[in-house]
Amino acid sequence: MRSRIVTAAAFTAATALAATGCGSGSSGSSAKSIKVVYWQNLDSTNKLQANFLASMVKEFTKANPGTKVTLVPVTASENDYYTKLQLMMRSPATAPDLVYEDTALINSDIAGGYLKPLDTYTAKWADWSQYAKAAKGAVTGASDGKTYAVPDDTDTRGIWYNKQLLQKAGIAVPWQPKTWADVIAAAKKIKAKLPGVTPLNLYTGQAGGEASSMQGFEMLLYGTPAGDKSLYDASQKKWVVGSQGFKDALDFVHTLYSQGLGPAKEQALGANFGTAVGTELIPEGKLAIDIDGSWMPNNWSSAAAKPWTEWQSVMGTAAMPTQNGQAPGSTSMSGGWAWSIPAKAKNPDLAWKFLSTTLQTKTNAAKWNATNANIAVRTDVASDPTYLNSVPTNKFFTELVADTHYRPGLPEYNQVSTAIQKAMESVTTGQASVDKAASTFDNDVKAAVGDDKTAEGTS
């Protein structure tokens, strides 16, 4: 009996040691293999990126015999994906060699010491001159001016509307609202004429994550008179609190949800509402107006979750107006995704080779921008007919770039974004008044970035 227990204990210890030993052994991979991490969104039928990357790996390993590229999809909501990514990059044992992330996170990951500067690589790479200046800005370290990623797409946001529903409600198409009031007025008309149809969707709340902040709130906020200075004042290096613009934007959200012009609150606050909008509400004609991104046709291509070819004749696009129609008349938000090499990557050289010779050649970049219906960041791709003709709305959304805004690429943005989502959620549910929610936001921002880094908004 006793000897058996001893044996068992020894065995347990041995296997535990073996397991940990084994773990560190296998993670010290050979110089010929790399690990590439990307986001597989929760809608598991969406395999656009998975298929594209698989074909890239094939091309690369064919050209470089003996190398191995392991694709690691992380299936999660967007927020959870970043958490997982950051946890992976934190430790040398788990750090991948190439990661795909939203440019909004680049700066906080630089500050976290997770990313490797790529200047020595880009200096020797002829294609780098093709990348648009704004896109390069989005992947540049705010503190050291170094390049930390290669962007592969950007995006813009505007208004998608269902032409048939608008016509039924007595609104002339093509429709281009001039002010926020025009948008609300149209929603009211639709509500009155078309019962059973959700008039207007604007993402809101914490479950929506960055979609609420960016497609939702910031599309309003950056259209207030303060414009680029409505959230962060770059000249003073301070976050803006207590502004009228912020309250006006919150008031828009409040109007939308308290007057029943938006989706049902409990639906809008659900975690997978974004997927439902693209794959159910819009194709099924249950949503008339949607403030959303240039990538929406991804949902409807033949390779996507909900093939819907009629969208080209059913759906119209309009630019998001500024609050009172003030110059420049319309507003948009841009982000985009980029490839980075973690600081703790075991095989950065091979990762760079995969990135520069396969993933981001002109041909493949054009292929990706066309497949994924996003906006090109390479000037040579932007004029490429394959890309321009791949999606009928590409031209419209590429033109929005002129009046677009980028989010403040700062480490604190993440917390400010959460504070925005909280404020939106509390006015959406009616838990707090607009004034109360705005002052909670002010306090949250002050707590997150420090009192000395905030300034009272003037307008």
């Binding site: 204990a9 934190r90 996170l105 976290g112 959460t418 959406t428 549910t429």
Partner: protein, 310 residues
């Protein structure tokens, strides 16, 4: 665990000391030897991380956005107690524990155990099966089922519709009640099993004697059975309290702490701070507070148990 193994007779387990055997101190040292691997493993994989957590709670460590980590003393704790969201989470946690564990699971488990004493075998098997099925399910699956039950177009509202009662939007208007009910549904099996075992151990003579003295069923339960199984009740309370304090998956799947923060208990709040706001230091500080809350509950129960023993 190894030290608990009874020594088989005749293999040196008797306290008889033969000539040439090692001195008692050395011998107990030798006997302790087999536990060394277990102790080492516990130290490395359990005590180590816990010590780290305690340390992190006093730093400003972040998941991203800051490369350095600094010691900030009790800043995280003072911040927490000034944070209205934290206080809200604290209050909801107490509500959740008292409502779903202390009152819900405990009382329902006891009631079922008592009722099943007199039930026929098929009824007992059926009830046991239904109750234990909820217990066997993984937390997230149970959470999803409960979501499907409670949500706007879920089965509960379909049932209400069928009998012409007004719909309730459970997850939206009273999320904390919905998650409490879900936790009762999921956790009652444990109390049921503890109480069934305890009641079966009540000496039959005692019950019969009380019956002879003219005690009705209610009095027999109140004056005989309950006092005898009191230690089991307290032990059960302690276990389900600790378990309910740390419930995360169930609430996260059902409501994600929302809408707003109406069902945001401490574990959810902790997760949001640590992994969504990237504030690892603050998150671990909240975890420590949670640990203290659990410890306080335990102390109360243990004192009650001690009183019982005296």
């Amino acid at each position: 665990m190894t030290t608990l193994a009874p020594a088989p007779p005749g293999t040196g387990g008797h306290p008889r000391r033969s000539r040439g055997a090692p001195a008692p101190a050395v011998r107990s040292l030798l006997r302790g030897l087999p536990t060394v691997p277990a102790v080492v493993l516990l130290a490395v994989f359990l005590a180590g991380p816990i010590a780290y957590c305690v340390y992190y709670a006093f730093t400003d460590m972040q998941l991203t956005g800051a490369a350095g980590t600094h010691f900030v003393g009790v800043d995280n704790f003072t911040r927490a107690f000034k944070d209205t969201d934290f206080l809200n989470a604290m209050w909801l946690t107490l509500l959740f524990v008292v409502g779903s564990a202390v009152i819900g699971q405990n009382t329902l488990g006891l009631a079922l155990a008592v009722l099943m004493q007199k039930a026929t075998q098929p009824v007992r098997a059926l009830v046991n099966g239904v109750v234990i099925a909820a217990w066997v399910l993984p937390e997230v699956v149970a959470g999803y089922l409960m979501y499907a039950f409670f949500y706007d177009q879920g089965s509960l509202n379909s049932l209400l519709d069928a009998v012409h009662l007004p719909d309730q939007n459970w997850l939206y208007t009273m999320p904390i009640l919905a998650v409490c009910l879900a936790n009762v549904w999921r956790g009652t099996a444990f109390s049921l099993m503890v109480f069934t075992a305890a009641i079966n151990d009540v000496p039959q003579e005692l019950v019969e004697a009380a019956e002879m003295d003219g005690a009705g069923p209610w009095q027999r339960l109140w004056r005989v059975v309950l006092p005898v199984i009191r230690p089991s009740i307290l032990t059960n309370l302690m276990l389900i309290t600790l378990q309910t304090l740390s419930v995360f998956g169930l609430i996260y799947t059902m409501t994600r702490g929302g809408p707003g923060n109406k069902s945001e208990t401490l574990p959810i709040f902790m997760y949001q701070q640590a992994f969504q706001n990237s504030l690892i230091g603050y998150g671990t500080a909240i975890a420590l507070v949670l640990l203290v809350v659990g410890a306080l509950f335990s102390v109360v129960y243990i004192r009650l148990l001690k009183l019982e023993d005296d």
